[in-house]
Amino acid sequence: MASLAEKRLPDPEDRPVDPQARPEELRLLEALLFASTEPLDLATLAKRMPEGVDVKVALAQLQADYALRGVNLVRVANKWTFRTATDLSWLMTREITETRRLSRAAIEMLAIIAYHQPVTRAEIEEIRGVVTSKGTLDVLMETGWIRPRGRRKTPGRPLTFGTTEAFLSQFGLEVLGDLPGLEELKGTGLLDSRLPTGFSVPAPSDDPTLREDEDPLEADDNLELLLTPAADPDTSQGS
């Protein structure tokens, strides 16, 4: 490797002729992605790039460029962002800003929502065998990792829950299909919420497109109210 003395910063004038100069689109892409707080999707990136650049190819190139670095280019729900390499977490601990510790109930509920989505509160309770406290749902909603996505077309029209992009981002998942152990779960048929286990192997989906048995949320659905015990027969039996 060249010594540092030889690797001095070139003068700006030298850049265009520098043989090491990287393709401009890679410079633009990395600048955009470095600067942004949020992951950026292909369309947004393409809009900011010069005409004629194949952004997909450039992104793949950039991802390869950074694969071995301390900072990697990753994809979350079809959006691109830089993240520090996960193998360096030991070094980064000091950056931690008091991460919230979820209760066991909340963690289980989150997992059920992730693996069974879209799923209703009653179905979550069926799996866990206990009534869910309003507080647990509130805590999960606050994380921004789950969202009510529609209403099941069944009596009572209960809310259906699913995970968000922030969920994928939090757990470093590119797509929901990357959920750990998902394939085994599908294989055992344990993802079917109906008992006894059926023949179909349902796969969780966070596709915002509603399922056939889902209605959209109404514009005036006040979710705050919807989640309160009063509106929820599950907990109205009182404590």
Partner: protein
């Protein structure tokens, strides 16, 4: 945990004395009967798919019984599950009726085993999920993102209707405003009376009304209205006995004065030659 003291071979509680420390279980530690069942099932140390539901039912019932012996308050859920398991156990032990009504005992047992497997599977999944590297814990986003300056381009909206309404209203308003200014100002009766009352208050002697009025008329075009209103107001004040009016002949100047306090007879005619 109390499960250790339950013998699943016999399905009966092991020898234990009431109040034995091991039995002081915190049922609150379990998240409901299913959680408890799962914990008990794990004691069988076999694949949940091959678990003995009969043995599990016995363990559970023994647990509940033990808890009740020490008057441990149990949530209704636990008792419901106990009743259901007792029912299931009896059906598992009895020969199946020739025409089974609803699911067979075997099916019910399988369903319960599946519920337990599913709960266990989701627990396992949640562990694996939470053990994944997490954002801002194990890997990090850009700590100090750069500010993207926003260059605002205003896009104005207005419709032709807005434009025409504004134009018509404006032109019309100006035209009507001019008409309004051309209107004569009228000296109201009330104004005339108020002025006269002030005058009468100081006019002990006969004075010429016309002369007083003239001082009010700044704009010659107002002369008629001032005269008309004052004359009407003057007649009103006379009728009320506050003042007296005197006129030599038609169209001659009008004289007025404050009515004297004691009226002893007809007032003498003013000495017109004086003024």
């Amino acid at each position: 945990m109390s499960a250790e003291i339950l013998s699943f071979e016999t399905g009966q509680p092991a020898e234990l004395a009431v109040g034995e420390p091991a039995l002081v279980v915190d049922v609150e530690g379990y998240e409901g009967p299913l959680d408890l069942l799962l914990a008990l099932a794990r004691q069988q140390k076999v694949d949940l798919a091959r678990i003995s539901i009969l043995a599990l039912a016995d363990q559970y019932l023994a647990f509940i019984e033990a808890a009740q012996k020490i008057r441990l308050e149990l949530a209704a859920d636990y008792l419901v599950m106990a009743a259901w398991l007792a029912f299931l156990k009896s059906r598992l032990l009895l020969p199946e009726p020739a025409t089974p009504d609803g699911p067979s005992a075997e099916e019910m047992a399988t369903a319960l085993a599946n519920r337990l497997r599913r709960l266990e599977a989701i627990r396992e999944a949640s562990n694996r999920l939470m053990n994944r590297p997490q954002l801002q814990r194990d890997f990090f986003s850009r700590g100090d993102p750069e500010i993207i300056a926003e260059i605002k381009h205003p896009k104005f909206t207005a419709t032709l209707f807005d434009l025409l309404t504004a134009y018509a209203a404006q032109r019309q308003q100006r035209v009507l405003a001019t008409v309004h200014l051309a209107k004569r100002t009228v000296w109201s009766l009330a104004e005339a009376r108020a002025s006269l009352e002030r005058l009468v208050g100081i006019a002990e002697e006969w004075s010429c009304l016309d002369q007083y009025l003239m001082s009010y008329v700044v704009d010659p075009s107002q002369k008629a209205t001032v005269f008309a209103s004052s004359f009407a107001a003057a007649l009103e004040l006379v009728r009320e006995g506050q003042m007296e009016l005197n006129q030599k002949e038609a169209f001659a100047p009008l004289y007025f004065r404050k009515r004297p306090p004691s009226v002893t007879g007809a007032a003498p005619a003013p000495d017109l030659s004086v003024k």
